[in-house]
């Protein structure tokens, strides 16, 4: 049992180290206020509780990091990511865009938070169940929004 516990902790530790490395490489320290916190949330250095739709149990933090599936618009493409989930940034979020067959819509801080928590986009269309639903606080939403819409 001790060995298993040790291995599990070692895995969690490696995930934390990876998140911190991403953070350092992307220059988190240079970002002010909420955007800096948003970057930590995006990269998983600061965890947010999340569940899949219909699931009772929360998932481990490293399984639900935003960066597992998304990247910011300003970043160079990562293999596979772009085809799986949209890049996020001012262009994708704040311009009117027709999403998932709905009418053109744009996010604001409030609708972005609704998407994180409930999976409903600004045109009131449900996003795929592939994305976890996050128990994001108002401060978490504000921080992530600030990070993502800051060019």
């Amino acid at each position: 049992m001790a060995s298993k516990t040790h291995r599990a902790r070692a895995g969690a530790g490696l995930a934390s180290v990876a998140a911190l490395s991403l953070l350092l490489l992307s220059g988190a320290a240079a970002r002010p206020g909420p955007a800096a916190r948003g970057q930590k949330l995006f990269l998983g250095a600061t965890p947010i509780e999340a569940k899949m739709v219909g699931h009772a149990q929360a998932l481990p933090p490293d399984a639900v990091r935003c960066t597992n599936c998304h990247q910011r618009e300003a970043e160079p493409p990562r293999e596979g990511i772009e085809a799986f989930a949209p890049k996020l940034g001012p262009l994708a979020l704040t311009r009117p865009v027709a999403r998932r067959g709905g009418p053109p819509s744009r996010y604001d801080a409030r609708s972005f938070c609704r998407l994180l928590r409930d999976g409903v986009d600004p045109a009131h269309v449900m996003i795929p169940q592939t994305m976890p639903r996050y128990a994001a606080s108002d401060a978490d939403c504000e921080a992530l929004w600030a990070y993502l819409v800051t060019p």
């Binding site: 070692a10 895995g11 149990q57 639900v64 269309v125």
Partner: protein, 191 residues
């Protein structure tokens, strides 16, 4: 040995009634397999380094099987976490139950990589991982109907096998752990 249509609909409803307007990728293939189907010939190297065949690995157990690869950052961490949590919840309540994660990247996912991947989520006694031989993987993907064009290259379904190593059901993507336990329990009761 088959699950009833009502059982299948309950499982499907767990994923489908919750409001996604975007069709899940697995919807075309999810449901009861009737009659149950024997698996194709697939050679497996288990995470502990032993070798066997898929049919032997499935025999005399009720099995929840998923497809993963260890370098996948998108769906696979969630799949692994769900299997680990479900296996923990199940414990020893169904003596013949097992959880089997099969890699779709056999060139990279050797036993060491598979063991490390499971360790991320907390290894469970009834949870095993394996890599198939390349020709066997091709046959397995066809048999399970799990090919996708996306970058993760597989669905997030769970495939249920009875004690006779026959495929009896394909779930929707990301079935909740309570549904995994319910279906395994049903398969176990049917012998």
């Amino acid at each position: 040995m088959m699950l009833s249509r009502r059982d299948a609909l309950k499982t499907l409803a767990a994923g489908a009634c919750l409001g996604s307007s975007a069709p899940a990728r697995a919807h075309d293939s999810a449901g009861v397999v009737s009659p149950p189907e024997a698996p194709p010939s697939v050679e497996l190297t288990m995470h502990d380094g032993t070798t066997t065949t898929l049919a032997k690995a499935l025999a005399d157990r009720v099995t929840a099987l998923q497809l993963i690869f260890t370098s996948c950052t998108m769906t696979c961490p969630i799949q692994g976490a769900v299997f680990a949590a479900a296996a923990k919840d199940l414990g020893d309540r169904i003596g013949a139950a097992q959880w089997l994660s099969i890699s779709i990247d056999p060139a990279r996912d050797d036993p060491k990589a598979l063991t490390a991947w499971m360790a991320r989520f907390g290894p469970r006694p009834r949870w095993r991982a394996a890599r198939p031989d390349a020709p066997g993987l091709d046959r397995l993907l066809t048999f399970l109907r799990s090919r996708t064009n996306g970058p993760d290259r597989h669905t997030a379904q769970v495939y249920f096998f009875d004690r006779r190593a026959r495929l009896t059901m394909r779930s929707v993507d990301f079935p909740p752990s309570q549904e995994l336990l319910r279906v395994l329990g049903e398969l176990d009761r049917r012998g």
